[in-house]
């Protein structure tokens, strides 16, 4: 009798499973769903607004204007010899993608409690679809950045220059890295908030503060104080620096610092997936 052998069964649902029992095969089987969600997000966003995808432009434009005024003109913070507007816009574009991934995945369980309570599909599909959905917005903002770059190439400003470097080939890699880091942090937060709601409040201003701890409004080379090592500890810093170097030719990073970002991102992602996977089994009972 082989009846007790689990391998005879297509699916075994058990109370206690190993922490690392993550069903990537299931996620792959549901890949169509991922793209359905992406499509849904895009269509619903587009349909409910008057300006449609134009909204994707408005936030970075205004933020860039404000940053240029406050940090560029008033505070006179260096932009490493590149035009202020471009300097901020590259930072904002990269940061927006990261922070969107982070904040939106950090509420996955709460936002989807209804659907998660009614039907099973690998829960990881949802955060993954968010990361992919955000790519659309990121892409639109990237177009804005390219338009601005063309403008500044045609009408250069005094004492400021920029050029695209070979690091541009690393662009997809940088995007992936931001996605993984944002996803990983988001997964950890959403898993914890199913039980301890307090963390939700932390996310909004935490992300904002973290932006100031990343080299969005100042170049890394500008800091010469002891704070520098803390800024460098932030895994987003090398990514943003490399991103900026790719597009504007200015940025301070090394193979060492990028490797650091990769390692930290992967560790966070790993923990994120494990804790998310652990939470998804029973979160319906506690949320």
């Amino acid at each position: 009798m082989l009846q007790n052998n689990d391998s005879n069964w297509d699916l075994v649902i058990k109370g206690r499973t190993s922490l690392f029992d993550i069903k990537f095969k299931d996620v792959w089987a549901y890949r169509d769903l991922l793209f359905m969600f992406v499509k849904r997000d895009f269509v619903s966003f587009y349909k409910q607004t008057v300006l449609g995808p134009l909204w994707f432009f408005i936030q970075p434009i205004f933020t860039t204007l404000v940053f240029t005024f406050v940090f560029g003109n008033l505070a006179n913070i260096s932009s490493d010899g590149t035009p202020h507007q471009l300097f901020y816009l590259t930072g904002i574009t990269a940061w927006n993608y990261f922070s969107d991934c982070l904040t939106k995945t950090s509420t996955v369980f709460k936002d989807n409690a209804g659907i998660f309570g009614k039907v099973y599909f690998p829960r990881l599909i949802m955060p993954l679809s968010i990361v992919v959905s955000n790519l659309v917005r990121f892409g639109v903002q990237l177009v804005l950045l390219l338009l601005m770059m063309i403008y500044f190439a045609l009408f250069p400003v005094e004492n400021a220059s920029f050029y695209i470097t070979h690091a541009i080939w690393f662009f997809p890699f940088l995007v992936l890295l931001m996605a993984l880091l944002g996803l990983g942090l988001g997964l950890i937060i959403t898993a914890i908030t199913t039980k301890y709601k307090d963390l939700t409040f932390l996310v909004t201003f935490g992300v904002q503060l973290l932006m100031y701890g990343t080299t969005i409004i100042y170049p890394l080379s500008y800091i010469n104080t002891s704070y520098k090592k803390y800024i460098e500890l932030n895994p987003m810093t090398p990514i943003v620096e490399c991103f900026r170097y790719a597009f504007l030719g200015k940025g301070e990073f090394s193979v060492y610092s990028i490797t650091y970002s990769v390692v930290v991102s992967l560790i966070i992602l790993f923990f994120g997936i494990v804790i998310f996977n652990k939470t998804e089994k029973n979160f319906v009972d506690t949320i």
Binding site: Q3, D6, N8, W9, D10, L11, V12, I13, K14, G15, R16, T17, A29, Y30, D32, L33, M36, F37, K39, R40, V43, S44, K47, Q48, I115, F116, G117, K118, V119, Y120, F121, K195, Y196, K197, K281, N282, V284, D285, T286
Partner: protein, 426 residues
Amino acid sequence: MSNIVIKVENLSKAYQLGQIGTGTISRDVERFFITKVLGKEDPFLKIGETNDRSTKGTSDIVWSLKDINFEINKGDAVGIIGKNGAGKSTLLKLLSRITGPTAGSIKVKGRIASLLEVGTGFHPELSGKENIYLNGAILGMRKKEITQKLDEIIDFSGVERYIDTPVKRYSSGMYVRLAFAVAAHLESEILVVDEVLAVGDAEFQKKCLGKMSEISRGEGRTVLFVSHNMSAVKSLCNKAMVLENGMLKYQGAVEESIAVYSKNFEESLAQNAKHYNVQHKINCFEVGVFLHNKKIFPNATLLLGDKITIQLQFQALESIFDLSIAMDILNIHEELVAHVTNEDDGMYFSKVEKNESFNLEITTRELLFSPGIYSINIWFGVGQQETLYTIKNAFNFVLEQSDYTKRTKAIPQQSKVYLHTNWLQK
């Protein structure tokens, strides 16, 4: 080669009662320490608490399901029945992997799809067709599969004309039709269905029931069906299991299971009669129910078209002017389906003397409510206003479809009453 497609072993699920959130960190730490560091049993999961909602337990943890064991063979249509809180929904949730078991295991052969709700994930802004794809994908279909069946789904739903319109413009009926059409075309070997059929109009419901029996009988797929509607269970399932307080009370052929459930139900309901003597002016000491001159109380399974007699024996403790008596008949959803009073038949109690006692018989005409579960509340008062004495759940009964109607299918659940009609061709 065995035919077992679902095997459930020692399945249990515990829920925590009360507030979740505050004070749980310290408890979680304690729990972690005891279970993981010391390797002892979780002290918060006290053994032996059953899920009886009416009595207060000693622990915050309640076992919604406790040590459930069963096996289901390929091609069976199994009804899961039990009263509210018996653990049906929990079992469904575990089978559909929405939440995990606390202990035990479920082993499944083949793809399992569950329908706890129709139209999960429907987005109002998307068109009917887009929603078919989205909902199908949520239920586990591949895009290719959906494309293959698209025409069939649209045809089944009967909303072809609106298929490119956003579903927010749909009527609720169309919405449900479309949603069920997607679900009905799932190609899973096992289908788990909640009472989603309690939606849509009668015609569509019949179509759904038909489709489901086609699934289990025709295509040899396995269906698990949870319902309160005994006639639906009877017509759809060949086997059934009865859950009570989180435990498996009975498992077997559908007829026997329903009999066990009904008996169970009557017994548990009979204990529920609650007398409230509000003003101590009157005392009702006996409630009896008779069917064909035979006392049936407290066992009560009535058939559509039965006439019953309710006997009330009460005594006035003080003199009462203008005593009135009313009887409310409520369905399972606590909706009032009938209100009866002494004035209906022209009987008045304008002056009742102290210590005067009564033996009252109220005889109904044919009971023509839709089959279902009903309870009767009795009210004594003054002038239809002031309450003296009430009996909640004085008598509860299950009304079953009978040959009073010649139809073979179940009377749809949404219909409140059965209207007897004569059909004549001229």
